[in-house]
Symmetry: C2
Subunit: 371 residues, 2 copies
């Protein structure tokens, strides 16, 4: 089994291949194995401590950069480590960076590749559901700075993303739950309601894992197609979103979710849990503004609850400074325009962008202060 | 007096305006003055200790980042300072970065703008001849890492570059000499021999400065047009150069020049002095390979000598490890392809790219070991 989805993201072709096994180096980039020092363009594998064994399967001979795992290490220091190792490995401008891991490894590897000699070759092998469904595709790279998620980054799509199902076999239940939030987001954005219906029944394997990876493939394809089409239409996120469409739609659940992550401290909860909580907030706002019809609001809430996501306001366990930090983070959202954040809320079908207004502010105030 | 040269560099329009005075903020970006914290997109001025008074002329109200001057401070730390100040100033994704300074300030500001929230607005006001003629136009941004010049960077053209002649009034003779090397390079690349002829008479003002800034304008225009056309044809330097044209032509004198800078230690000599020395080496190689006709070789050497550039081999004053470091730097050149550096040498007209070969290696060996 092997499937390929091809996208054109601005200047960059980007394809996603879904297959059983971890690809070997020659599949990823013929000729890369010759090595930078010895006359070839050179290649570098980047992974974290959890994915090192998978990365070694791509090639036993390449230099390997092993990063400390987790969002809390997704800073400049990790980028610098990758760049120095690439240099030490003798990679030229035509050299290859291969990221094997979750969102942090993929974002960091892609960022490093995008700035190494102003842009080297890039392949990604995502190893978490979250990264498979969301982070690997779309060209966004980045790292955290000053406590702000992805404050620095570039637009640099991987030419090839290989989703190897065997890499997902040993994922713990927590990772499946985290990634499922992005599947739900894609289903809400999808024009076709059938996708959301399929997600009303959570993964039914042990502890909330999928009962079979094969059964997962159509869901992945659908979610990637939804995302890929949105990115193709607006690769660099230049649409203002208010005229419909645009990459900002992918921010559904994220404006609130990022603020939650910032207020709790980066790395305290998984990105997916934050997005699911943010989705619930976007339902609150959409319903209060009369944009999300009651039937749709209920359908989406039921899916979030079926998966067991925390959706309460305020978020349980926040300390005394939580409200202030949350509000500050929300007001400093990266996607703000003319100094104000914008919100994406589910509509009757798909989702809509809501610019800041006094009405939005009043709704937010009453939603966030209810206790 | 005001002139505008417009270029389209891949996806990015980029225009150069030559005018008398430092532009005011409103000329650069209407509306930017409203400030990030108060609802506007926000703007940040970046300069170094030498150019701070000029930067303040753009706007007295904007936040100002003052970097330590010089190539030796062109590292990640400076980039991080700019990004943190932008964040502190409340700049959004639609915020504006304005770089006022020489090559280091412009490269750093442009790099920071290119990665801030994955790309903010950018204007440059170059204040050295080198930056006016070369660094500000063309979209190359970057900083030094691990002792390698611009090891990290992006392609991100400024939408508007304003060359304000008054900013050049107080430049010391050393800066004019440094920048003139890029003028000479542009003249060698130019199809029209008249440009090189005009440079056979150096600047005739006090100490080697131009006798009048007005008289400089046609030279700047010509050099910018030569560069702009080459970049328009190959914005991301993807041509291999062996089929003619391509951005790599702009590397004339730079393969050797960068290796000289690396071997002496970054910042020991000016970039322009290194490029001029590298131009002399490319003449050695072009002549030895029979690519540079004797008459042209003589004409270019005469210009280099008229300007008083050091062109001797070995470079005077190098220590015992110089030869080894120079050779290592040359072999690790960023522009190498399949593990080998390439060279640009003057032809009968313009310049040509010479790939690595045993013949090139033999020529290089005999040139570089002659003492």
């Amino acid at each position: 089994m092997s499937k390929e989805l091809r996208f054109q993201l601005g200047d960059y072709p980007s394809s996603v291949i879904i297959q059983e096994n971890i690809p070997r180096l020659e599949e990823l980039y013929p000729g890369a194995g010759e090595g930078g020092k010895d006359g070839g363009p050179g290649a570098l594998l980047v992974c974290d401590e959890n994915t090192a064994p998978l990365a070694r399967r791509v090639s036993g001979d390449l230099p390997l950069t092993t990063l400390p795992p987790g969002e809390e290490h997704k800073g400049w220091k990790a980028v610098e480590t990758i760049l120095r190792d690439a240099r030490r490995g003798g990679l030229g401008r035509d050299g290859l960076f291969i990221g094997v891991g979750g969102g942090a490894v993929c974002d960091l590897t892609a960022f490093a590749a995008s700035i190494y000699m102003r842009g080297a070759a890039l392949r990604l092998i995502p190893t978490t559901l979250l990264c498979v469904v969301d982070a690997a595709l779309g060209g966004k790279t980045g790292f955290d700075l000053g406590g702000i998620k992805n404050l620095a980054g570039t637009f640099y799509p991987a030419e090839r993303i290989v989703i190897a199902l065997e890499a997902l076999e040993t994922l713990p239940p927590r990772e499946w739950k985290s990634g499922a939030a992005e599947l739900i987001k894609a289903a809400v954005l999808d024009g076709d309601a059938a996708f959301l219906e399929r997600l009303q029944r959570p993964f039914t394997g042990p502890g909330g894992t999928p009962s079979s990876l094969e059964a997962l493939v159509p869901l992945l394809e659908r979610a990637l197609t939804v995302k890929g089409r949105i990115v193709e239409a607006d690769p660099r996120e230049q649409f203002d979103g208010e005229t419909g469409g645009g990459r900002i739609l992918l921010n559904l659940g994220h404006t609130f979710g990022h603020a939650l992550e910032a207020a709790l401290g980066l790395g305290t909860i998984s990105h997916g849990e934050a997005v699911a909580w943010g989705l619930a907030r976007s339902l609150d706002l959409g319903a209060a503004l009369g944009i999300t019809p009651p039937g749709r609001e209920t359908a989406i809430r039921e899916v979030l609850e079926a998966w067991g996501y925390e959706t309460a306001v305020p978020y349980p366990g926040g300390d005394a400074g939580f409200d202030r930090r949350f509000r500050e983070a929300l007001e400093n959202d990266k996607k703000k325009k003319a100094g104000k954040p914008r919100f994406v809320v589910p509509g009757a079908r798909g989702a809509r962008v809501v610019p800041w207004s006094l009405e939005v502010e009043a709704c937010l105030y009453s939603l966030l202060s209810k206790r």
